[in-house]
Each structure stands twice: as structure tokens, then as C-alpha cells.
């Protein structure tokens, strides 16, 4: 059964009717059992649509994707010009001095990258909670200074995104530190903290290299 209102039931459900149309339709629904039943059925369709479960593919697709993006055989390429590459190379050489902080004798190590940014999985030593991060803090400070001095050469969107990401990482570090403080013997938590700290170093080093590249 259908009447002039049947075609408007979806708009009613979606809140697309004007106030007067909605009032008129609701008055109609009070006296038309067929439309009321249809509306209830449409609501059930919506509920079922919204409760659909996602499910992964039957076979893992990652290996095919990894092959296509060249993962494992090479890392991502930046499309800098040769002068930019030279500038970035100089920046990375300078930044390796910052990396040296991480290897400072006598302090616990945080990360072991010294030069050109092997961004995929550099080995990470675990870091004990609240200890041995002096070298890390100094390296971060050094890199943040490079970024602060050069941020004027980056466009504002880039700076904003960098700052957002750094804030996210700082938040993650703080969370991980709290977790380690509560369970200092937990190897996973220590590893997670170290990984998160390494990410901050990675991001800062990329940002500093970018500053140099756009100079």
C-alpha cells in the first residue's frame, strides 16, 4: 500500500523534512497503520545497516601490497631536487652529531641510529623507566632547536602538522612512561616506551632535514 506520504518516509527518518511537513506526516502516521508499519520496517533496515560487521579478507593481502610498494627491498623515495638532496645530506651529517648523544658512553642507550635515517626498524635498546634518558633529552633538545630556528622556512601547514604529530608522540611517551613507572620490569612496556621515543627522534630528524632541504 502506498500513499503520498510513503515516499517521504525516508526523508522523515533522515530528518530532511521541514517542520510543517514533519508535523503533517506525524499526524498522518497516527491514523495510517500501513505507513506506520512501513516506517517501522524502514527503521529496522537502518538498524541492520548500521550493525553490519566489517570483516577482513579471507587471505592476507599484505604480501601483495608489500611487493607493490617495494617494502623490504627499498625505502620510500623523496622527490627532492639535487641541490635539495645535497642540502639534506649536509643536514643529516650535522644531525648525526645529535644522534651521537644517543650513544653517549656511560648512559643507557635509547636508539642507535647515527646517520642517514634508516627509518624502517632501526634496532632499539630498551630503556629503563626514568633512567638513562639524559642523552635522549639532549638530542631531542638539540633537534628541537634546529627545528625552531628553521620553522620560519616551512609553510604554516607543515609546521602545524609537525607540531600536532609531536604533541601526539609526547602524549604517547607520557602514557608509556606512566605505564613503565607502574610496572618497571615489564619488557613490553619498556620496549614500547623506547619505540615511542625513537619515533620522536625520527620525526624531529626528518623535520630538521626538511628545514635544511627547503633553505
Amino acid at each position: 500500500m502506498s500513499d503520498q506520504w510513503t515516499e517521504r518516509l525516508s526523508e522523515y527518518l533522515d530528518g530532511d523534512l521541514t517542520e510543517s511537513e514533519r508535523a503533517a506526516l506525524e499526524a498522518h502516521l497516527a491514523s495510517c497503520a500501513a505507513c506506520a508499519e512501513t516506517l517501522a520496517g524502514l527503521r529496522r533496515v537502518l538498524v541492520r545497516a548500521r550493525s553490519l560487521e566489517d570483516r577482513p579478507p579471507v587471505r592476507d593481502l599484505w604480501s601483495g601490497i608489500a611487493t607493490r610498494i617495494g617494502a623490504g627491498s627499498r625505502q620510500r623515495r623523496f622527490t627532492f631536487s639535487m641541490p635539495q638532496l645535497l642540502a639534506a645530506g649536509i643536514a643529516l651529517a650535522l644531525l648525526s652529531a645529535g644522534g651521537a648523544w644517543l650513544l653517549h658512553p656511560g648512559s643507557n642507550q635509547v636508539a642507535t641510529e647515527a646517520a642517514p635515517l634508516p627509518l624502517a626498524r632501526a634496532p632499539i635498546a630498551t630503556v629503563a623507566a626514568g633512567a638513562g634518558v639524559r642523552g635522549y633529552d639532549a638530542a631531542v633538545e638539540d633537534l628541537e632547536r634546529v627545528l625552531a630556528e628553521g620553522r620560519g622556512r616551512l609553510d604554516t601547514t607543515t609546521v602545524r602538522v609537525l607540531e600536532q604529530n609531536l604533541a601526539l608522540i609526547d602524549r604517547a611517551i607520557a602514557q608509556a612512561q606512566r605505564a613503565v613507572a607502574a610496572d618497571s620490569a615489564n619488557v613490553y612496556l619498556n620496549s614500547h616506551l623506547a619505540e615511542t621515543m625513537r619515533r620522536k627522534i625520527d620525526l624531529l630528524r626528518q623535520a630538521a632535514a626538511l628545514v635544511s632541504a627547503v633553505s
Partner: protein, 190 residues
Amino acid sequence: MTRTRPGPVKLRRDLTSKSDSDAVDATLAASGDAHAFERLYRGHIGRIHSLARRMLNDDEADEAAQDVFVRAWEKLGTFRGEAAFGTWLHRLAINLILGRRERRGVLRRRYLESDAVLDTVPGRRSAPETLMDMESAIARLPDGARQIFLLHDVEGYRHEEIAEMLGLATGTSKSQLHRARMALRQQLER
């Protein structure tokens, strides 16, 4: 450098719980960290594959989902963190899937056919006493109405966004959605 980014979208599902770790992984992946990208893949493949399966079909879903992630890898440099990574990836997937369908040359023709087809969609069931599965019922919808239903009711896009994506009038999107819902109601409840 000119950069493009996906337009704003409204998603039904809350992706914010993963957005922090996704943002970090997206940053790392953009700089070449394939392991970070694999984490993103693991976190989002279910949603992307389900989208591809529903909008295309089982046979094409694997290839389409792979294409989405390969394209995402290539375009990570345009991800600025203004929206959640999941939102950005989802919009990228929608664009790729629609492009794939357009290349098949079915899109517009199916919309034109939809009215006629919808009225004759049979409400068959797999067994007389069993209500039809929702996924199966959606799969049986005419192609154009199915896209609109999926985009609106499952994925949470607005009619204005759908109309822009599909090159339709907003009114067409609304009317097709209503017809799709009515057909589903009929199939699911008879």
C-alpha cells in the same frame, strides 16, 4: 608543490580511538617506514575490504583493497592529519572504487536502470523459513541504488556528498535511497 587532499566526510563510525597511533604511524609511513604502514594496513583492512566487497563484489574486492593501500602509500605525503587517517583512507578508497566502477562503464547506466529494476527485485530467500541475510540482501539491490544505500546508511555520507561523488542530483540520491530501503525491507521481512 600543489597538494590535494580528500574533502570533508562525515563517517558514522568513531575512528578517534585509533587516531593517535594512526597519526604517528602515518607520519612514519610517509617517511618510508613500511612497518608503520603495515600496522595501518592491519588496522584498516577489514573496513576497506568490506567496503570494496559491498560496493563491487567478492571477486574484485581483494584487488581493489590492495589498490587502495598501494595508492595510500603513494599519497601519504598529502595526508596532513587534519582528519583522522581512517577518514582520509576511507575517502581515498571510495574514490578508487567509484573510479573502478566507472571504468567498467556501469555506473550511469545502472542509475538510469534502477527505477525499473527495483520494482522487480525478487524477494527470494535462501530458505523459506530463514530471513535473508542483510549482506545478501544488499548485494541483490540494483547497482546504483546499492551504492547510494551503502554510502548513506552504512558509511554515513550525506546526500550532498553522495550527489557530488556520483555526479547526481541530490533529489536522485534521496529517491534512490528510499527505493533501496523499501526493497530491502521487502526482502528482509517477507
